[in-house]
Amino acid sequence: MLERTIEYQSELGSLVAASRDGDRDAFCRLVRPHLSAALATAGVIAGSHADGADAMQNALLAAWQDIGTLREPDAFPAWFRRLVVRAAVDVARRRRHVLELNLAIEWPGTDLEDLLDRRRLRRAFNRLAPKDRVVLALRHVWDLPGAEMAIQLGVPEGTVKSRVHAALRRLRAAYEAEDRR
């Protein structure tokens, strides 16, 4: 895994250059390591797997079309993340009435109470504003450390912490409100 990462890092410049020249294979290799986390993040922000996939198409198309504007190849991961988040937020705003997170996931526990709890959590999460979903998704789905989230969001690291805290607080409040319904 580490070797792969090092290999990818060393190839980043050439992959970006080839992508700029219209090489789809290079572009595919460039984005492939990010697809899983990106798709998961987009789905969480957008509210459903289908909308996440939709957002990913938009992000990929934007990345393909605009990669010529990327000056620093090393910045590709952060740049691509921004495109993904942006596309997912756009979809979330456009389709905020769509709620379809995967209920079939076995997590953790299988009894009815857990299922109901997960449903409450899902409903609570779907009540969050896109900006809150973004910070939680970047933290928990894309697994970004605070420093990278700070770069991603264009804010100091301390602000990231407060945003995560605020998002969790709102999620918890929404969850507890669901609990009372």
Binding site: H49, A50, A62, W64, R95, E113, D114
Partner: protein, 566 residues
Amino acid sequence: MKEPGPMSENKPAADQFDMLVGGWLKATGAPDSDELAALETFVRALPDRRRAPRFRMPGVPRFALAAGAVVLASAVAATGGFTLYSRIIAPATSPSAHSSASSSAPSPVVDATPLPVVAPPDPAPFVNDERYKACQNPSLPQNDVSGGSFPVIAAVELADERQYRQRLPDLGYVPSLEQPYQALVVVYAGRSPVRDDAAPQPTSHQPDSGLYDVCIALNGPSPQLFHNVSVYWGYLDGSVSSPTAGQPAPKVLAFGCATDIAWDAARRVFWCAGHGLNATSNPTQMVVRYDPASGAIREWPLPVDDDLTSTQQTVGHVRADSAGMVWISHPERVIRFDPGTGKSQSVRLSDVSPTNGDGSSPSPEPTYLIGNSVCDSPWFSSALGFRAIATDGDTAVVARVDTPYLTRIGPDMAVTQIPIESSLVATASDQQGLEVAGGLIYLTRPSDSRIAILSPDGSVVAVSTAASAEGHSRLDVRPRGSSSDVVVWTGNTNATEIDGAGTTVDEIVVAVNFPRADDGQQQPPYDIASDWNGHYWYLMGTSPVNIPFCDAVLGMNLVVEIDPAP
């Protein structure tokens, strides 16, 4: 003994809650291998970049296009897709939706003259065309219902994709089809390889009775697909002139201004405010200047603070005053922006207002907060005229919901009040339009949607005979010679010009086919401004109209010029 559920009776500590959320999100979002494979397929099928002019914005210089490049990516999402890959767009749904739309806003495509019977244009010459094949097997991973055969009843080539306006007038205006390239139109005989949103995937779509699913393809595997289109073969093959022939097409000039445009007669530019043309790369709210003569666009960020960076609070109206300042309303404050220096001042109205509209003590929240019944989250009522701003000389006048006075803000940001009678006080559910012209204040009267004309002290001097249509109470001052008449928006494509006595002096009908949204209804513009040529400029939402106000506000919007007399 049973373990408690993850969040049940025993409330977890904060850290535990964070972990639980993390675990749930990871599990919920995790894609499966098929989804990832589909995305890789999508990447390999991306259109040739050299052949893919994504969108042309007439009059917008290249630097502006470059600046808005990221915006385009977002506009892809917001418009429902004008990309060169497959996307589902449903411009019309059921016949009942059409009739509903027709009753409230007659469509220009309606024609009572009997049409000659015309046979569907034969699809046979195109069966080996790559575009035809693409329409049989569009590369849209999550909607992939390929493998079947989808009979085609008609196919026709358009020398220019923009001919869709005449050949398929039911589509209305579709920004994504405004491409100057040859295109193939394929009309499916029945089911199409299009996801049926209401059915489990993958399921092909069965159009409603009398309607067709249509595919429009440029070169490459990138068709666009439309549900439930009313197709007349005579229009489609060009043998019968379409009622939309010769109609001016909306000219899309820019993306991204959020909620309002205003004509600045002194500078001959438009101003808009919102997330700006680089909105998607920067959440900072922007004030944007657009020069229609040169196409030049300039943006300035508004002061950054918690109010203005919140994605849920967007700027409302923007107006330019006689001193060259730009006034911008925001749920929390009114901003006076000096384009010369790039600096701004602001006043927080919720701080300075002595009472709420009901006479109660000042609330920590602004009085124009609307509830969460529609949007599942609090939204502020600034964007659709709930809170309106107009300029009067070098001052700004602001109307607020549930507030029995207008607020005047001077160039020194001093605030005074203009009492208004109770019938003029709008609630959060009313539209509220406001203009000041010729020394008179024009304000919508919620009870009958007419325009009350007030003297500067707030007393009513006249009421218009024309009513503004519900939901379209925008007002705009239209310069005509030395007069300062007011244009009252009365419908999707109609406006009435009134004078200071409330008398109608002109009826304006702009024969433009506005785009249809998912519910089949024409999508109205929600702001109007007029320039020195008598051209009308619309701010047009690209979000479907059946999505509530909140999405329309934050959706990507188009600034559109329409010349009523081309």
